[in-house]
Symmetry: C2
Subunit: 187 residues, 2 copies
């Protein structure tokens, strides 16, 4: 395993701080202190704090998608795939100590103050919905009476609701409830 490049170390440290403390509460000085570099080096690798933010979002989305794909591979049954998605989000919450969804967090913090970020997050959530849609479609193929869009929305909204709720309540109960409900939907 190669030694971590400076660029990557900066991004990793900044990402952790942005996620845990919030973007606005994280100063350049804290980033360079924890990454143990000089401020000149930071600005050699990233042109601004905003640049760092964009790199953060892209990296987090890639991680997110990779992790989701890994947890879906080798699962054939649609209903099990859906359970697996819920479990994935649950696991993310658990391992981050209920720090919440990176993307909901950043939009909450910036509102319409940063349209690039808003657009990025919107597109990210559309990808999530699309993934669920594909699985639902597969799962109800034999039953043409079911409303694929409505079921998709229901699952998507339940998961989003569970993420914010678990972030606030600091426990994972919501995810277990969502799993139960989702299993009921496809039968």
């Amino acid at each position: 395993m190669k030694k971590e490049k400076v660029h990557d170390r900066i991004l990793r440290v900044a990402s952790e701080l942005f996620y845990k403390q919030g973007f606005n509460s994280t100063g350049i000085n804290q980033i360079i202190a924890e990454a143990d570099i000089a401020i000149g080096s930071l600005y050699n690798h990233f042109s601004s704090k905003n640049d760092l933010l964009h790199a953060y979002l892209i990296k987090e989305e890639n991680n997110w998608l990779e992790g989701l794909e890994k947890s879906l591979v080798n699962i054939a049954e649609p209903s099990k795939k859906l359970s697996s998605i819920v479990d994935y989000r649950k696991k993310l919450q658990q391992s981050s100590k209920f720090a919440g969804c990176h993307f909901i967090k950043i939009v909450s913090e910036m509102g319409e103050g940063n349209p690039v970020v808003s657009a990025f997050v919107k597109s990210h959530k559309e990808k999530q919905r699309e993934i669920i849609y594909t699985i639902v479609k597969e799962g109800v193929a034999s039953n043409p009476s079911m409303n694929i869009d409505l079921i998709t929305d229901q699952i998507f909204l339940l998961i989003e609701g569970a993420v914010v709720t678990s972030t606030i309540s600091k426990n994972n109960d919501s995810f277990d409830h969502v799993k139960k409900i989702v299993q009921g939907l496809l039968s």
Copy 2:
């Protein structure tokens, strides 16, 4: 109608800014400029920015509860009450131009950085769930086979999901879907 007191004007201006721009992105200087007062006056009425934040949270929760009660009064049928709750949140999103839930926003911004705020929001969300629970219990009284807790969670999570989703997508479609789903639940 009495003229607005200075104290109230400060709180109103600060609330709008905290909500629209975020707490950390709103400076004392901006608040005093838009409220058209001197900084000394602000610190005469509020001991710190944090004090202003607490006043903001309490005021917003009171407004929220009042508004909800108003939209439930004179409605007898439980299923209509639930629809009315969804409509209320939808209306709030519409009139704020999809600025989102005050409480989810502030927790997203502060994470565990401010335990008092975290606890306040947790308690706020529990109140919401309690309100839904009471209505659901009423609605399924005739059918003892139904799982009141699970139905309550489902409705609660769907609404929370709809709020964050509408904040990101800048439209109210999710609420309409949630209404449909909720109506299906109690039949």
